[in-house]
């Protein structure tokens, strides 16, 4: 008991009594023990010779990778454009599919909370839980390699993300505005267009640019599995050990991501 009395009868207050304090220390001890055990498992599975050797190898590769082969840039403009297209069109396609899913998933707009809402939530979870690289692997196998497979991979992966954030925004709207529009005798679709859509527009715009920004990053690696874009060049350069080209590609990817981030920050700042 945190409040007790000492011998002279004065009240003493402590945050925890003795047993609670002991329990906390025991919990810390258990945590450290688990960490040590895991560390040992990893250590046993590691070939430490390679790790000690790592700085030398890294320096070796670094030496061969520098300077970047700038002339290779001529061959990168096309794939870079493909990458941007995959990200942008993929995001648009995802939004087109995410909006209805979000309205079906939001508690206050779903036509049926017992049947349709779980289906919508399942779509959200399913598309979100599969990484876009894995979507790309599957789609390359199904529809063949190329930019289109990458575009679809980006789109599928983004549906869940966008729909989830959007349905949360829909659930947080001010219901009295919806009530007021309903009270005018507006139809269901009019209530949506006047009472709900204006309220979620800022969230929608924010989510779109945020996802576009993420997709630029994701689309740069999709080429590794044959889904087109700059990742394809990265993979072939890696395979032929053309390290100066790899450096250039990494610089280009970095620049693309930074520019994408800058654009999305500007757009979000303008909306919110």
């Amino acid at each position: 008991m945190p409040v007790s009395q000492n011998a002279s009868g004065a009240k003493i207050w402590q945050l925890r009594n003795r047993n609670q304090t002991l329990a906390r220390w025991a919990a810390y001890l258990a945590g450290v023990a688990v960490f040590m055990w895991c560390w040992q498992r990893i250590s046993d599975a590691t070939t430490w010779f390679f790790v000690w050797d790592a700085p030398r190898i890294a320096a070796d590769i670094g030496g061969r990778a520098w300077p970047p082969r700038w002339s290779y840039m001529d061959k990168l403009w096309g794939p870079l454009w493909d990458t941007l297209n995959m990200a942008t069109l993929g995001t648009l396609l995802a939004l087109v599919m995410a909006v209805p899913v979000a309205f079906l998933a939001a508690r206050n707009t779903t036509p049926s909370a017992t049947f349709i809402r779980p289906i919508a939530l399942f779509i959200i979870v399913a598309t979100r839980s599969i990484n876009s690289l894995i979507w790309a692997l599957l789609l390359v196998a199904v529809i063949g390699p190329g930019v289109f497979a990458g575009l679809l991979a980006i789109a599928f992966r983004s549906i869940g993300f966008c729909a989830k954030l959007l349905y949360e925004a829909i659930e947080e709207i001010d219901p009295t505005q919806v009530e007021a529009i309903t009270a005018t005798g507006a139809s269901r679709w009019q209530v949506m267009a006047y009472g709900i859509v204006p309220q979620i527009m800022p969230a929608f715009a924010g989510i779109s640019v945020f996802r576009w920004d993420i997709n630029i990053r994701e689309s740069t690696v999709l080429g590794l599995v044959g889904a087109g874009g700059i990742g394809l060049q990265l993979q072939s350069s890696l395979n032929t050990l053309a390290w100066p080209q790899v450096t250039l590609i990494l610089i280009v990817i970095l620049a693309a991501v930074v520019i994408g981030e800058w654009v999305s920050a500007k757009v979000r700042g303008a909306i919110i």
Binding site: Q177, E179, A180, I181, T184, G185, S187, A193, Y194, P198
Partner: protein, 266 residues
């Protein structure tokens, strides 16, 4: 014109918000509905246009039983009932003009309303109403740029452009300062008189109600507890509705009107 017959509402939680309320509001009468928080005032108003489905009983407007209507007919019926809200309930991110025109949603089709192609007659009426409530210059402002009193005026214009037969007014002054409250109440009552509209006004401020309306109905725990003229509102009645309290100051103006003629009543 408006008739409530044995209207009851029991929420799913078991709360009996309304119990056997029977009430008639004749054409053109402005009626105030008072009662403590939780007495069922908001529920009563929302049962009339079925934003809340009543559990039993009927609401009859101009001879039509509102509670029996299907969704299409209910939408047509809602056009006849303009509603004004406590927190104004304007669509904050739309302009004043869009908010006023949204009162016509029950009359125009989806695509017309979506592309904001309202009939010219509606636009003319919107300008006339904005002029009437003193906000003509604000037509292009966004609703969230306005002050509380201005927003409530937009809310009034939105209700009136429906060309309603009845106004349902839910705590119109609860978020406003005392002066603006009076102006808004005066405006609502004047407009009702101009257009011969009936109105049911939920209101907390008993003195304000006495100042403007011709009839006061008191609700207590979902049941009718008083129905009479403002002058019949005595301390005993208030004690019955709200519970024991010194009510002298609350209804002073009615009491003192005869006794102290030298004190001007605002």
């Amino acid at each position: 014109m408006l008739e409530l017959k044995n209207l009851s509402k029991t929420y799913r939680t078991g709360d009996k918000a309304l119990q056997n309320v029977t009430l008639t509001v004749p054409k053109g009468q402005v009626m105030a509905l008072i009662g403590p928080s939780g007495a069922g005032k908001s529920t009563l108003i929302r049962c009339i246009n079925r934003l809340v489905e009543p559990t039993s009983g009927s609401v009859i407007l101009d001879g039509t039983d509102v509670t029996a209507l299907g969704s299409g007919a209910l939408r047509k019926m809602r056009r006849k009932m303009g509603m004004i809200f406590q927190q104004y309930a304007l669509v904050e991110r739309l302009t004043v003009m869009e908010n006023v025109l949204s009162g016509r949603l029950g009359y125009v089709g989806f695509w017309r309303s979506y592309f904001r192609k309202y009939p010219q007659a509606d636009v003319d009426e919107a300008f006339r109403l904005l002029d009437r409530v003193g906000l003509l210059a604000m037509a292009d402002k966004r609703a969230d740029e306005l002050s509380g009193g201005q927003r409530q005026r937009v809310g009034i214009a939105r209700a009136l452009i429906q060309n309603p037969r009845l106004l349902l007014v839910d705590e119109p002054t609860a978020s406003l300062d005392p002066k603006t409250s009076r102006q808004i109440m005066r405006l609502i009552c004047e407009l009702c008189a101009e257009r011969d509209l009936a109105a049911v006004i939920n209101i907390h401020d008993v003195a304000l109600a006495q100042m403007f309306v011709e009839r006061i109905v008191g609700l207590k725990a979902g049941e009718l507890a008083f129905d009479g003229k403002p002058v019949e509102m005595t301390e005993d009645v208030l004690t019955n509705i709200y519970g024991e309290e010194d009510w002298h100051a609350t209804i002073r103006e009615v009491d003192d009107e005869d006794a102290e003629a030298e004190e001007p009543v605002a």
